[in-house]
């Protein structure tokens, strides 16, 4: 019963944060770009989220006749499912997680690599050339960045001597990993943005070039899933940054651990939005060469150095 409660709690929190982010992002963007943002529905435009949801739910759920229907339907589901599954291993506070896995980090990596399918398949199944282009870009981009997203975390793993997220957090009692693993942090951050294909790495959707990329043909709740999925991704990456580099729920005792956790996470979510507000989109080839030629070698060097130092210290 306890477990079921936790599952329900996690689901509730995650979905709410994701939905709330729709509003938060628009407001924050507006703030940084010196405009109003949604402010008509309810006090401070807070009702906007509900209005949007109602709109999405009731919109015609149109499946294009030229599409590969089965795949078209499955695709958005995959995104949401993999993201939600990953949250199962995220420890929000000591004991406040669904499943304390010994390979939690690998579980995250595995799920994020499966998440690619949703975009690739969605773009392909739409049977539309812009969507296909988006899907191709997505698969190349995400494959590239997945490689060193995993590798960038290996420094942390080496230092914590565990794949278990709780263990990693506990290992930071005497110092956040952001300091020794700064390179790893930067790379993970970049890779995280690319994984969630947020601006500036939103090349798969790039509305200026590809209309809306892989989800051009989607509408209704299917589009909603992609939409919410993106925010869930942002939340997840922020959670992981918090856990891996910023000591997770650890913090001075005047606040409960959960609060510390969400505070830190919130900062990173805002950072994601700040990026969107401020950075232009790079070209596709620039993105790829940045990945393969700079970030990958950097990651490998990071692993080598970390290993060497650890062995030296032993």
């Amino acid at each position: 019963m306890h477990e079921l409660l936790i599952i329900a709690g996690v689901l509730l929190i995650v979905l709410n944060i994701a939905a709330g982010l729709i509003y938060v992002e628009r407001r924050l963007l507006a703030l940084w770009q010196d405009r109003y943002g949604p402010n008509r529905v309810g006090p401070f435009g807070l009702g906007q989220v509900i209005a949007d949801m109602v709109k999405i739910f009731f919109k015609e759920d149109w499946i294009p006749p030229f599409s590969d229907k089965a795949v078209f339907v499955i695709a958005p589901g995959i995104l949401v499912a993999t993201l939600l599954l990953t949250f199962a291993v995220v420890p929000f506070a000591p004991g406040f997680n669904v499943f304390d896995s010994n390979i939690a980090l690998l579980f995250f990596l595995g799920n994020s690599s499966l998440g690619v399918y949703s975009i690739v398949l969605g773009g392909w199944a739409s049977n539309n050339k812009y969507s296909l282009l988006g899907a191709m870009r997505a698969s190349a981009q995400m494959l590239t960045y997945e490689v060193f997203m995993g590798l960038s975390l290996m420094g942390v793993v080496m230092m914590a001597d565990s794949f278990n997220l709780t263990g990693i957090v506990e290992a930071q009692r005497h110092g956040w990993f952001i300091f020794p693993q700064f390179v790893g942090f930067v790379i993970f951050l970049i890779a995280g943005i690319a994984e969630t294909h947020r601006v500036p790495f939103d090349i798969p959707e790039a509305e200026g070039e590809l209309v809306a990329g892989f989800h051009s043909e989607y509408s209704g709740m299917k589009f909603g899933m992609f939409f919410v999925g993106e925010y869930m991704g942002v939340t997840l990456v922020s959670c992981l940054i918090t856990i891996l580099f910023f000591g997770g729920w650890l913090g001075p005792a005047f606040l409960p651990p959960v609060v510390w956790f969400f505070l830190k996470t919130g900062v990173f979510i805002c950072f994601f939005i700040l990026l969107r507000a401020s950075l232009p989109r790079p070209r596709y080839d620039q993105l790829m060469s940045l990945g393969w030629k700079i970030l990958l070698p950097l990651t490998l060097i990071n692993i080598l150095v970390t290993g060497a130092v650890l062995i030296y210290l032993q």
Partner: protein, 182 residues
């Protein structure tokens, strides 16, 4: 525990069979991915969580994406227009169902399973690493060379070259002027 194994194994078998018999390349690949997921579950049951994760990250996550990528580029789905007519709900319900069974299976496992239930010993990732870099370090080196061979080969074969006509096409080309004259 055995039940979980049989369920996963059945899913793996069925989806592999469907992958082989599938007419649509992308659908076949999707079945293959499901099969890989099922195999990963089996690994997990056997007490090899690291391999289970790797199975997903590398095979399901990377290799298969590349496959799909290539197939999308090859435009194998030319006939999907025709095939889409055959695509009744019955077709797509099956993969969803299989995946669903797997999911349920997995979730139950996560809850019901404590480590004592696992037959045999659980192999921690650390152990895997140690054995790879002590006993089997030469094997790892050799595997590295193996990949080198693969990379160099792929580079060579994949490199764009001047267009070469297939021998059948060559013949057609020769015949062409004759036809126009006629």
């Amino acid at each position: 525990m055995n039940t979980f194994f049989y369920i996963a194994a059945a899913v793996a078998l069925i989806s592999t069979g469907l992958a082989i018999s599938g007419r649509n390349a992308i659908h076949a690949l999707l079945f293959l991915i499901v099969s890989l997921l099922a195999i990963s579950v089996i690994f997990y049951i056997l007490g090899a969580p690291f391999i289970a994760a790797m199975e997903i990250i590398i095979y399901a996550g990377a290799v298969m994406v590349l496959f799909i990528f290539v197939i999308m580029m090859l435009n194998v789905g030319m006939e999907s227009e025709k095939e889409s007519r055959w695509l009744k709900p019955g077709m797509w319900i099956l993969p969803s169902l299989l995946a669903l069974i797997l999911l349920v299976n997995f979730v139950f496992m996560l809850n019901k399973m404590s480590h004592q239930n696992i037959p045999g010993r659980i192999i921690e990732p650390k152990e895997v690493g140690i054995s790879l870099f002590s006993t089997y370090v030469l094997g790892v080196e050799i595997a590295g060379m193996l990949l080198l061979a693969g990379i160099v080969g792929a580079y060579h074969l994949g490199k764009q070259k001047k267009k070469v006509l297939h021998r059948f096409l060559k013949q057609e080309e020769i015949e062409q002027p004759g036809n126009t004259e006629g």
